[in-house]
Amino acid sequence: MKPLLTPFGDSALLIKFGDEIDLSINRRVHALDALLRASPQNGFIESVPAYATLLVIYDPLILTYAQISDWIITEMDRVEKNVARKPRRIQVPVRYDGEDLDFVAAYHHINAREVVRIHTSRDYTAYMMGFTPGFVYMGKLDGAIATPRLETPRTRVDAGSVGIAGAQTGIYPIASPGGWRIIGRTSMRLFDLTADSPFLFSPGDLVRFVIEAVDV
């Protein structure tokens, strides 16, 4: 699908690459995002990559809608020819002792060790961030361990919890309510207010989970 530009109010614009959660669509989002940020037009404020869309926020006192969309369309022509972006790779050690690990295994009629083996056997793309500061939505999970969310979300999920929701996997950066199936936890700090770069992950990163310990 050819990306579609739509006004989002008078100071933002939405670029839509598709409708669904799909790795190849998401890669196009991150490729354009990287290009826009590499040579920002004066008046460009920030961009928010999501699964299938890129939101561009601009200053309407500096740029008109026509000016920002012309710039993006020009950059889009470049990105479609030049998609060889090198994502950053991050390894995340996990203790696989989550409260829903046995449920995920039982749901798929496999054992917990098999869940862990499958979860650690591929790279995941950080599709987008949101929900809470630093929360990262990753995928795509092997269908053999994709599991629906809890019917009733927990009122508190600890920081560092690694979870599964459908074909996505993610990590809770701070304690918050949450409905993902928790299979383990990492001691890595995803969010540190006092650090120069407060977030461990960025949208578009490639993430690999590695076994720190399995508790089955």
Binding site: G9, D10, D19, I45, S47, A50, Y65, L193
Partner: protein
């Protein structure tokens, strides 16, 4: 310095907002009424985005411990300094030891207190804005409390030059208890049929009690979606009018989540967001009116230009 003597409601420190971090899931925060916030700063000679005190749904009393110049702007409050009452939209000299208070007074929700030099709280992730749900920014990431001490930065000019200035009446927003606010339809207007879009544009929507710095919920004629209320999550900004499954619109405000999964029928334009912000939950109602991006941007530029040129010696 200022000491907080008494406070209730939503009193926080806000600057122009935390930009550049939405991609990591960090909301912008910043003022609910960006017009009044900017005007309050310009009146005391600050950059328009300097940290100011925002008060909503409550009252506050402070004591200055040094000579300074302050300005108040917004709606719904009266300003008292020592034993005198001052109008909003003026800058005033305050002597060390005098008390400054905001008392609730008639229509409106939010008022801003700026001080020449700005409130000097630490920057957290590049901003002094308080993000209450995240417990960071402003003063320890929380509402102001009795006993808090607020440090002041260095004024841009002498206090004599900065005091006794006003924003002319003609340059102020047309606040109202039943404002008409312009919206730009989309990005998901195609998730609503013509009949529902007309309902949205022709009805009165009352601000619901369950409204806060994150979003204003509205009660009014129910809007029906085409093909359900679910959307693959995408980025959003202040002003976005989300329509969840119950069909009652929610306008996202300063602490707007960075992404959401409900269709957005429209967005409120920058020039009119202050009018909507000042509506009192449970009491006031708005009408939404369609406009174009071009017209909205011209209106916003004209409003900002008028603000810059409207500050004069009183």
């Amino acid at each position: 310095m200022f000491e907080v003597l008494d406070v209730s409601g939503l009193a926080t420190i806000q600057d122009e907002g935390r930009t550049g971090w939405r991609r990591f899931g960090v909301p912008t925060s910043g003022p609910m009424d960006a017009f009044a916030f900017r005007a309050a700063n310009l009146l005391v000679g600050n950059p328009s985005g300097a940290a100011a005190l925002e008060i909503g749904a409550g009252e506050i009393e402070l004591r200055a411990t040094q000579d300074c110049v302050i300005a108040a702007a917004g709606a719904g409050y009266s300003l008292s300094i020592f034993t005198w009452t001052f109008p909003l939209w003026d800058s005033c000299f305050v002597r060390a030891g005098w008390t400054v208070s905001f008392r609730k007074n008639g229509f409106g929700m939010w008022a801003y207190l700026s001080v020449a030099g700005g409130f000097d709280v630490p920057e957290v992730i590049g901003s002094r804005s308080t993000y209450l749900r995240g417990n960071f920014g402003g003063l320890d990431g929380r509402l102001l409390q009795v006993g808090d001490v607020l440090q002041i930065g260095k004024p841009s000019h002498s206090l004599m030059e900065l005091s006794a200035r006003t924003l002319i009446e003609d340059a102020r927003p047309n606040y109202s208890e039943s404002p008409t606010v312009d919206v730009i339809l989309g990005p998901q207007k195609n998730r609503f049929d013509e009949k529902n879009i007309q309902t949205f544009l022709s009805s009165s929507y009352k601000v619901s009690h369950s409204s806060d710095r994150m979003g204003y919920r509205f009660d009014g004629p129910r809007l029906k979606h085409i093909g359900g209320a679910d959307l693959t999550s995408e980025g959003m900004t202040m002003g976005a009018v989300q329509v969840p499954a119950d069909g009652q619109p929610i306008v996202m405000m300063a602490d707007c989540a960075t992404a959401g999964g409900y269709p957005k029928i429209a967005s409120v334009v920058s020039a009119d967001l202050p009018l909507l912000a000042q509506c009192t939950p449970g009491k006031d109602s708005v009408h939404f009116r369609e406009t174009t991006v071009k017209a909205a941007q011209e209106k916003f530029r004209a409003l900002m230009e008028k603000m810059k040129n409207g500050i004069v010696e009183s």
